[in-house]
Symmetry: C2
Subunit: 709 residues, 2 copies
């Protein structure tokens, strides 16, 4: 269903379009031809990759980088640069090739040729990766980039509202995000789109490479909605460009209008032809495979290049992109001068901003964490509030949000201001403004995690995003959490209601298997503290982990506060909680089930069996300790090690000989009853261990097998 | 932002509304008052639960069950009943209480009073659960119910197109789905909504309990989009009911119009007041807690009930709902008569339909699986096609779909017909009709899994849904997969590209930690076959597992076909692949990494170390075997057991002493190079094992620790 040409709600936009001369148009023709031939060559080189999208989007790239975006290849880390995000990450050659043409020094033609090569040192992986210069976020899993872009645009809005002062427009960059059909079908993209409209992020532009082709053929096989009307209903400006494959002028005008949009994010629906110039132009076959030698030759001929030559980029094309390299670098210098005068005029703010640009927290942050906690039973979600709220209140880097669980997750603090469009007050009486640091994500866990990645990726350490929801719903958020860990982003997830202690909400809300995912996820710390003291330790670890993401997993229900718990030992992953000479049993207590380990140890003692206890909040941290430390904590050779946790046991076999664990989904019962129902009770546990000790006496082989008791 | 009253695209709907008399209106008043007081009482009884939504939705329930829906409490499993799905599952008391009032025998008043009680035998868990009579699907995780409803409506469309014949409108039920604000914000809901519009499921009605309140307060804090316009843009009819709390007549009219909608699904935007009648009416406080004794008394008084009495349901209210119990049962009898004559008139179809109503496959299904496979190297995704395609082609129960990866997942078969609205042909040239059994889900993995749950839940075994995508993107789908496993639904997920062998697409596409999730997930079989033969075994297991979900996990790359592999042993989870007397080492080969285990065994042999090999496609199936069998396969006491798998090792510690595994995210390299880069190479593995054997000689304690080599 080809939508008609529309310009929806566009009258408020003041166009500052470039007037491109005839020379420009000639240049464009050469540039577009060169670019498309280059893409075809690169994909053919190692006979694999995604050529079609990149070829179709060429004119959009010219409009973006030549005429619109604010950046300097000599200063790729410039704080106030425009951010570009390729949500349709499989078209990465689009970005790599433009980085090369624009003069990013690391991206040589030889580097480009490593795309899909066996070289482990390539800057051109199959999807863009954040660790490489010029790439803002890693993309590939579809829809993520849109949410990341929303986070980036929020970061700008927030920092601008916090630091800009009259005459000092220090932070005013725009976020540009490319998307294909796919990201607009994915739930995470749709969630993020709703939020961007709600927040009126007028510094966000989403450019739709509308080639109407997906892997299965015409996009119409699975999608016939009216995307323009849908975006408008979601609070976006909509601009349509009919010939997005070639019409650099119209695209440039649309981008300029979008950048200057007064009150909404803008969606630019650019109609393009996938694989334009190839024999499979406009077809799904152009999406994800090399064209073949024959067609590559035809493409060369069609675009006026020698069919036998490869990787030919005329100097004129380089000149076209690089002629303003100097002036782009000058803009950065001018911004530095502006920042200097700002810091003089507003010295306190200036110091703070400079610190944040460096990605640092105020030096006193550790002192903000309470030194002690109430000794009465406390739900660890409340403990998380006791630890996080003062940090959030006093440290400007914190932006704390929730997927609509404010009353449950205890993450708001007295005097918090919501991150909202200030215009919302008059529309529907909702308070807040862009300087606010408390984020209502709505019931959108996936977008929450992925937007948080964007907030964190804006500039390392400038913003520490904290998300919060029930632990079970971090399964919805999991692809976002994964992308944060993969990109080494410092994002802190506060997950509450983390076991069957959640109770009446039942098996749909009781995580059984989810910890297994997060304990196996590389570069992610899944920390399950047993009380307030360990929550303080967990937050300290999370804040010192500048290159990884953390989940702090807390209870719904009240937990006893243990005299043996120790915040400073959380960093070791596990530690001796209660030592005992000549112990026969080591009990591993974890999170909210520590209380059962303690009860069981005491009951074993009454039955003449000495039991020691270790607290084990984080497997990954423990793995990083020396073998000597690990052995001294576990004492596996001398004791029967039994872990007590109301999750599936998977993974504990590394540390324990047996488990008190969950073998099924949970059950809707009050928390205490749910625990009892599944055998989480000191006496029951102790009995099982006694029986198992007897069985081992009789049959030594048992200790070489892991047993779920 | 209160939307104005609209009736969008409604002119095609022929209204067959009930004309309710004055008596009815008086009845309604009593019924609504009784219902609301009952809800307040039930939540107060154990001082917990969700009262507000249920109270606000009372009039919708009356309109649905009294005037609109087709069902019989005496025949709760009637095949052609209307399906009702409560996507906002926390309002479960709404459904439980109506089931009671309507005369579902199991749902006594005493049963209702077990809500939030410590009784493990309650039919009233904190969210609706499919195993209880009258509940079609388990809901709670938000957005799932909408996708389930889409699956249910598809099932009807498909079965009707397949079996109905002139004069025999055997299958013509409607699917009614309640949703709150939350499900409409969740990505999975939005994905499913797009698909329902695309497929023109005019037998689907989504009723929006629009109380504009979420946990965080006004829904406006996180959502200000124009939902009516958005739904219309997504291809839905939109009807708005202004007084959804009380106006039974308007709601009934809207439902009737929706049921008779000619070509689109219908969205009914019902404005209601959460917790109506309570002191916190219209406030988030009415959402998830008891009102307190004081307010409960006030509610009683306000609604004309004795403030001290509890659980008072006047006979007149029972009469109101139950007076047509007999005629409802008669309708079922009439349908059975119709089915009998259908079976006479169309005997072949009738036999098939009866078999499917019983949830059975054709008796010859095992013969449809190929007896042998090509011996040349074959990607196991292709093997999955070789096994699944003939089944899908010949067995009508199969409905196979993909999240836009048809060219990659090999799940389509010659002559397959797409499930599509037949009108799409004229709109945009897309072929297909509702009898089609190949489903293009678009790039919507989460909705795919959750819609598949709806297809499976329509009636056990009638439809066997098969989904397909890259394994990595089953992380997007995970909440849906979980809900399938939790509900014991037979859904088969074909996951391809399942390791670092995926190659150039890089770490975003290489699952490292995901198997840990699915191996820990209760009631889910995660099967990783090593070649075509084991794929055949995996599919056989999946088809015999009528009460669980299965993921069959396959490779992108070609795999050698092993003479030792055995389809019949897959059911045991693991089996001896290559036995060796006096072996020092047992190698566990898994899925596409079996080839490295074989190479390593051969290299060990060359170095004088005897190594046996076991194939280990499924941990959960292995756990179900006897201890004797498990010991005989693993031989842990006599041999060093080493698992070879390109995933995080977590969980393998139960079966192995050491692993060749992944300790980080993957890398973008051609598949073979990615394996080499991470040490997956027979020689390298063999060297590591030899070194480890030496270390064990020197230090026995090593065998009591799990080592990542």
């Amino acid at each position: 269903m080809a939508p008609s040409v529309t310009l929806v709600d566009f009258d408020t936009v003041k166009s500052k379009s470039h007037n491109l001369s005839l020379v420009d148009h000639e240049d464009h023709d050469l540039v577009l031809r060169t670019f498309r031939v280059l893409i075809a060559d690169l994909v053919q080189h190692f006979n694999g990759g995604h050529p079609g999208g990149a070829m179709g989007m060429a004119a959009i790239g010219v409009a973006l980088w030549r005429y619109t975006m604010k950046y300097s290849p000599d200063h790729p880390e410039w704080f106030n640069r425009d951010r570009f995000i390729l949500s349709n990450g499989h078209t990465c050659l689009f970005q790599y090739s433009f980085l090369h043409l624009l003069g990013y020094k690391h991206m040589t033609l030889d580097q480009l040729k490593t795309y899909h090569s066996p070289s482990p040192d390539s800057f051109c992986p199959g999807h863009p990766e954040r660790e490489h210069t010029g790439i803002e976020v890693t993309t590939g899993p579809l829809g993520q980039g849109i949410a990341n872009a929303v986070g980036m645009a929020m970061a700008t809005k927030h920092l601008a509202a916090t630091y800009n002062r009259p005459g000092f427009d220090i932070i005013n960059n725009t976020t540009w995000c490319m998307t294909g059909d796919a990201c607009l079908q994915e739930g995470v993209g749709l969630e993020a789109i709703s939020l961007a409209g709600h927040w009126k992020l007028n510094n966000l532009v989403l450019i739709f490479d509308n080639n109407n082709v997906t892997c299965d053929g015409s996009a119409d096989v699975a999608n016939t909605e009216d995307i323009n009307a849908k975006m408008a209903a979601s609070g976006w400006n909509v601009i349509e460009v009919l010939d997005g494959s070639n019409d650099v002028q119209s695209i440039t005008n649309a981008l300029a209008a979008a950048r200057d949009s007064s009150e909404k994010p803008t969606f630019i629906n650019c109609h393009t032809v996938i694989g334009i110039g190839s024999a499979v132009a406009g077809d799904a076959k152009a999406h994800g495979a090399a064209f073949g030698e024959e067609d590559v030759k035809n493409i060369h001929q069609k675009f006026g290049f020698d069919p036998e030559e490869r990787f030919n980029v005329p100097d004129k094309v380089y000149d076209f992109f690089r002629k303003d390299l100097r002036s782009r670098a000058d803009s950065v210098d001018q911004w530095e001068v502006l920042l200097d005068s700002y810091c003089k005029a507003h010295s306190e703010l200036g110091d703070e901003l400079r610190q944040r640009i460096k990605g640092e927290l105020p030096s006193n942050w550790e002192n903000v964490i309470p030194k002690s906690f109430p000794t009465s039973p406390t739900a660890s979600r409340k403990s998380a509030g006791l630890v996080c709220n003062p940090l959030a209140k006093t440290i400007p880097n914190f932006m704390v949000g929730t997927a609509d669980l404010s009353p449950s997750v205890h993450m708001s603090w007295p005097g918090k201001v919501d991150f909202q469009s200030p215009t919302l007050k008059t529309v529907c009486g909702i308070n807040g403004n862009y300087s606010g640091r408390y984020i209502h994500y709505g019931i959108r866990e996936h977008a929450m995690a992925s937007i948080a990645n964007g907030l964190a990726a804006f500039n390392r350490g400038t913003i520490i995003p904290v998300t919060s929801s029930f632990f079970m719903f971090y399964l919805y958020a999991a692809p976002g959490v994964r992308m944060g860990a993969l990109q080494e982003l410092q994002v802190i997830h506060i997950a509450t209601h983390d076991s069957i202690g959640t109770g009446e909400d039942g098996p749909t809300h009781q995580p059984i298997e989810l910890a297994a995912l997060y304990r196996a996820m590389p570069n992610l710390l899944y920390i399950r503290p047993c009380d307030s003291e360990e929550v303080a330790g967990a937050m300290t670890v999370a804040l010192k982990s500048k290159h990884r993401s953390t989940i702090i997993s807390t209870s719904r229900q009240n937990l006893p506060q243990h005299v043996e718990s120790n915040r400073y030992s959380v960093r070791y992953g596990a530690y001796v909680f209660r030592e005992k000479e000549d112990a026969a049993v080591t009990l591993i207590g974890v999170g909210s089930e520590m209380c059962f380990a303690v009860e069981a140890a005491e009951d074993l003692e009454r039955n003449g069996v000495k039991a020691r206890i270790i607290s084990f909040p984080c497997q990954r941290l423990f793995e990083e300790q020396s073998r000597e430390y690990r052995r001294s904590v576990l004492r596996r050779v001398e004791t029967l090690v039994v872990v007590v946790e109301a999750y599936a046991a998977n993974g504990w076999e590394r540390y324990a000989d047996a488990s008190i664990s969950m073998k099924s989904f949970g059950k809707s019962l009050p928390g205490k009853d749910a625990y009892k129902y599944f055998g989480f009770d000191g006496k029951v546990i102790s009995c099982k261990i006694l029986a198992h000790l007897d069985a081992i006496e009789q049959q030594r082989a048992l200790k070489s097998e892991f047993i779920e008791l």
